[in-house]
């Protein structure tokens, strides 16, 4: 504390001395940083440091901020994550019947547990023709259940009903069931899955 006191008067004096003269004209300023140790900093120099410091921090902020935004928005990508996934041998599905099948989410993480098992409804229309419906009701995504006796899919949430071929039968759903693409490769049924279907992206 005590050794600062002597400099105080000089600090107070400097701004008042600078006030009148245009910046730069003051003899002290020409020397820049190379001047005497205790010389007070000129306003421009202080200004420069402020601007330079702010600029440096904006750059540093971007260095941290851009990777963070990239990390957070990595889920925001457009391309479809759908791939062909085997549902097993064709023979396990009876002609004319509808049966639940499960595929493993191709984007599954090791810590997903049971949540990586994705159910779907498989309808074998004929020996070679299949229809695979998403489990999600097109209204609000609840799991629809198949009732063999009345040949209807019913949704437990708001009572949406669908016919055997996935067409909308009754209730609030705005369209029929979402249908996944399917194909048969070497006597094996494959489904194109990996995406939860919604109205704006119906698989």
């Amino acid at each position: 504390m005590s050794d600062e006191c002597p400099h105080k008067p000089s600090e107070e004096k400097t701004p008042s001395a600078d006030n009148g003269a245009p910046p730069g004209s003051h003899p002290c300023c020409c020397g820049g940083g190379g001047g005497a140790k205790k010389k007070p900093m000129s306003p421009e120099r202080r200004n420069f440091m402020l601007k330079f410091g702010m600029g440096l921090n904006v750059a540093a902020g971007a260095m941290i901020g851009i990777p963070i935004i990239g990390y957070l928005f990595s889920a925001f990508k457009k391309e479809s994550p759908q791939v062909w996934i085997s549902l097993g041998a064709v023979d396990q599905f009876e002609v004319g019947k509808i049966k639940m099948a499960t595929y493993v989410n191709p984007g599954a993480k090791p810590w997903d547990g049971k949540s990586s098992d994705i159910p779907c409804w498989v309808r074998r229309k004929s020996k070679t023709e299949f229809q695979i419906f998403a489990i999600n009701c097109t209204h609000l995504g609840c799991p629809v259940r198949w009732f063999e006796e009345s040949k209807l899919f019913l949704c437990p949430c708001h009572g949406g009903a669908y016919y055997e071929n996935g067409d909308h039968a009754a209730g609030p759903p705005p369209r029929g069931l979402y249908e996944y693409e399917n194909r048969i490769v070497k006597n094996e049924l494959q489904v194109k899955g990996g995406q939860i279907p919604t109205l704006s992206q119906p698989v």
């Binding site: 547990g113 949540s115 705005p174 939860i196 704006s200």
Partner: protein, 492 residues
């Protein structure tokens, strides 16, 4: 000794400036009229939040935010961790109380005109705090990683997926991927534990700071409208003339109510315990009938009752308009009378909001539009509807049971409530109408024409024609009675 302690206390106070801060905050003067029982809800909401923070930190010591292990860790908390069930219970009931008391606080502030000049920002920060609290309620429901949580997310996805242009990207952002999975739970955990509570703390500070800056609302009186030019002066004069210190003079009621709230939360936790977890979060176990927690039940009900063509607009534009109106409120209703007795519009708004939200919530809880998926196999046909029936009619009773009609239609009030009760259907529909309804469907009923054989339809309709209330005539055609072979004879 005493003076020595005093010296120590003063030494600390000199460094920490506690008494200065305390006098400027807890000791600030408020109008005497504001020390009212109506003014206790804000502090009680904050007390609930503190309960949530405290119990939440404790639960996080055990809870595993991983899709594979969350369910097991919840069961561990319920059954093995000493007092884990109680802390989960307090956290669950604390959240219920927090939402409920927050709504009371909001209603009171609205009715007392406290949002008017110069407390606009106090209201706006309150609206955002309300949204954040609802955000906590929703993300907290996901923490209870069970069937309801899984399919509740599915509902969120289905709503997000309706957004035009960026729907798919939004769902990916929400879920942390294209399908509900491990990343979804981690995402909601981060929101529930770090992001939203941080936002609440920040806004709560602002909210309280604004109460100190602009003073608590005076108890409104008729004939004392807010006038921008004079309000602050008058308020300050009132506080000077008739003010009292918040601490210790006015805080008593807050403390009493807050204490009661804490007691009620703990009592509910002890009596009713924690909620869930219910079904295992295995998407392939589809015997789920997902229901949201009560703060969102009204949305679930609204989704069932709206005409389909309105749905997307209401679900997506509704919240924007609603929240926009709430935030804009103090700017279009900035001055004037505060007392609710002479503000009929605001009273009406509160009554309308309470009635519609209450009714929708009640409908959501009873959800008469949901089929009862097991009714067809679990509920027997009432025997008095079978006595004395012909073989064909009995066959029809079997069709009615076996073809899942009971999932949507009840007999004797037992079964689904989606469609009308069939116990007296023959009072309402004639033979031809019954056939038409079964074959073609209509209303919310699917057409069964392709799913029933003609013989089954004949038997079903024959049975349903026997279903009418005692002493009432069966339904009959209004035209061409004399030509019809089905004119019921009144003499019989």
């Amino acid at each position: 000794m005493n003076s020595k302690l005093r010296d120590i206390a003063l030494w600390f106070d000199d460094r920490l400036q506690i008494s200065k801060v305390w006098n400027a905050t807890a000791g600030h003067h408020i109008p005497k009229s504001s020390a009212s029982w109506f003014y206790v809800f804000g502090s009680a909401t904050m007390i609930c939040f503190m309960i949530q923070v405290l119990t939440g930190i404790c639960l996080a010591l055990i809870y595993q935010p991983s899709a594979e292990e969350a369910y097991a860790s919840l069961l561990y908390l319920n059954y093995e961790q000493p007092l884990g069930w109680l802390l989960r219970g307090i956290h669950y009931w604390g959240s219920n109380f927090m939402v409920a008391i927050m709504l009371m606080h909001m209603t009171q502030v609205f009715m007392f005109g406290a949002y008017k000049y110069p407390r606009e920002l106090t209201w706006v920060s309150g609206v955002i705090l309300c949204l954040l609290t609802l955000g906590m309620a929703f993300t907290g429901q996901v923490m209870r990683w069970d069937q309801d949580a899984y399919w509740g997310l599915g509902i969120g996805v289905a709503i997000m997926g309706r957004v035009p242009f960026i729907g798919p990207e939004l769902t990916h952002m929400l879920l942390g991927g294209p399908i509900i999975g491990g990343e979804t739970l981690s995402r909601f955990f981060t929101l529930h534990v770090f992001v939203i509570p941080g936002g609440i703390l920040a806004l709560l500070s602002l909210h309280l700071r604004m109460v100190l800056n602009k003073g608590i609302n005076e108890y409104p009186e008729v004939g004392k409208p807010v006038v921008k030019e004079t309000y602050v002066e008058e308020y300050e004069a009132q506080v000077k003339k008739d003010g009292t210190k918040f601490f210790p003079d006015a805080i008593g009621k807050d403390l009493v109510f807050g204490g009661i709230v804490i007691g009620l939360v703990v009592m509910c936790a002890i009596l009713f315990g924690p909620k869930g977890p219910e079904g295992i979060p295995d998407p392939t176990l589809i015997d789920a009938s997902p229901r949201p927690d009560w703060p969102f039940m009204w949305i679930f009900a609204l989704a069932a009752l709206m005409p389909p063509y309105m749905e997307t607009v209401v679900l997506l534009v509704g919240p924007v308009i609603g929240i926009g109106l709430m935030i804009a409120l103090p700017f279009y209703d900035n001055v004037g009378e505060k007392k609710w007795t002479i503000r009929p519009v605001s009273v009406l708004v509160v009554i309308m909001a309470a009635l519609s939200l209450g009714t929708l919530t009640w409908y959501g809880v009873t959800s008469p539009w949901s089929p009862e998926m097991e009714a067809w196999s679990s509920e027997p046909t009432p025997s008095h509807l079978l006595e004395g029936r012909t073989p064909l009619e009995l066959q029809g009773a079997m069709v009615l049971q076996y073809k899942q009609c009971r999932n949507c239609h009840s007999l004797d009030g037992i079964g689904g409530k989606r469609g009308p009760d069939l116990t007296d259907v023959a009072d309402r529909l004639t033979h031809d109408q019954l056939v038409r309804q079964v074959v073609q469907g209509g209303g919310n009923m699917p057409a069964y024409g392709q799913n029933l054989s003609p013989a089954e339809i004949a038997a079903l309709v024959a049975f349903m024609e026997t279903l009418h209330a005692d002493g009432r005539l069966p339904a009959q055609r209004a035209t061409n009675l004399q030509n019809s072979d089905r004119v019921p004879s009144l003499e019989n």
